[in-house]
Symmetry: C2
Subunit: 220 residues, 2 copies
DNA sequence: GACGAATTGGACAAGACTGTCCAAAAGTGA
DNA sequence: TCACTTTTGGACAGTCTTGTCCAATTCGTC
């Protein structure tokens, strides 16, 4: 049996109309996210894309290939966004608290609260038990690949003497948990800009109370 | 249209064989959790329960009623477990750090890592957009009802002078986030006892570094 | 305009699912 | 034993799904 990995790997250059192919994948993303793998019907995707059902079969193939393509698309996009955001991690500087809050806001807005990224997590979580290789691929390719980068940033900050950290990996996990603790996580809810700022401030304040230098005042 | 709330509210005393009714609901729980609402078929549930399909229609009714019954069951069970665990929140005592870690272990093991509770969250998250009243009912009846109780515990601890907290509600959310930050959250993964202890220790240590009294040594 | 490729709409078979109906069988209690 | 309730298995109609096939039409390009 061909696995999702295989299906996602052999990408031939698109044969037909490229715009239609993109429309199909975009529509499939929306419908898969909305209805789940089981609930999504090819007809609904075709209608959403403004395309005949047959075109979907011509361009992509069956439902599994379409799903793999959708997962790969969101994965690439949200992974790129993560590394891009990660590049703005504050260096040794004047006001660490302020910079960390700014970074936390970018991180939550661009990655944690991104509709597609959340949808991908949900899809993986749902179909992960049925298609284990899908979950494995996501774990390796998605956030799993970027966790070391995050903790390396914190380690560098610790070496520079801005914070006191024993285990940078643990600190990174707790940082992520803290800045996400105050975010609304309901199914349809989306955080407002004020909520984003407040959550980032609250999370960073507690993080710096725990890991900041004892003599440093946290001006938040 | 009858809502899920209505469906779940009017519980008539069971008409037929009570054991079979329980077997049906248990099997339905397993299959709904495994396959989701769309993927679960009545035939699969009947087979899992060792019962004829017709019996399900006799005892409970259609698929929506069955799903509502399953959700209500897990909800009651996990909510009871939560209040039971919450009752063991440490009072003013000698070794706060140790007691908080013990409490965190109980909380993660009994509530956060409980298979049924996690499955309920997943089900709600999936079908929540399709049946909003289902999500609202869960939010009010489930953890939402018990959040104030948690923060009240932290507020009492703060009044007793054991910790320094401005916003008990925020502290409670961050406590939960911290003790859950170090737990494996993959689809099929279940945390070992060692992981539970380690995660609780790490979370409580950071929590107390941020909120504990400045002069207190944290012996973890 | 003309040619080849892509797209479209519809028809189609095969299968799965829900929910109903019913007669036969099994269980239950007096 | 007898009457009553419940369960069972199967049949059934109706709907929805996927994936294929095909003729007609449109599109892109020369």
């Amino acid at each position: 049996m061909e696995t999702f990995l295989d299906l996602a790997r052999d990408r031939v250059p698109p044969k037909g109309n490229y715009n239609k192919r993109c429309a199909i994948i975009a529509a499939a993303t929306a419908v898969f996210v909305r209805d789940g793998y089981m609930g999504a019907s090819i007809d609904a995707i075709a209608e959403e894309a403004g395309v005949s059902r047959q075109t979907i079969y011509n361009q992509i193939g069956d439902k599994e290939k379409l799903f793999a393509e959708v997962v790969r698309g969101i994965n690439e996009q949200s992974s790129a966004m993560l590394v891009e955001t990660l590049a703005t991690f504050p260096e040794h500087c004047g006001d660490l608290a302020r910079d960390l809050v700014e970074f936390a806001i970018r991180l939550t807005r661009n990655c944690l609260c991104d509709a597609n990224a959340r949808a991908l997590r949900k899809l993986i979580e749902n179909e992960g038990t049925r298609y284990p290789e899908l979950f494995e691929a996501w774990k390796d390719y998605g956030p799993g690949k970027n966790w070391p980068a995050i903790s390396a940033r914190f380690a560098r900050l610790a070496r520079a003497g801005d914070i006191e950290i024993d285990d940078p990996d643990l600190a990174a996990r707790q940082f992520m948990a803290l800045i996400g603790a105050d975010l609304p996580n309901g199914p349809g809810e989306r955080a407002s800009e004020e909520q984003l700022q407040s959550a980032a401030r609250n999370g960073v304040r507690t993080f710096l109370r725990a890991y900041g230098k004892r003599d440093a005042a946290i001006g938040l």
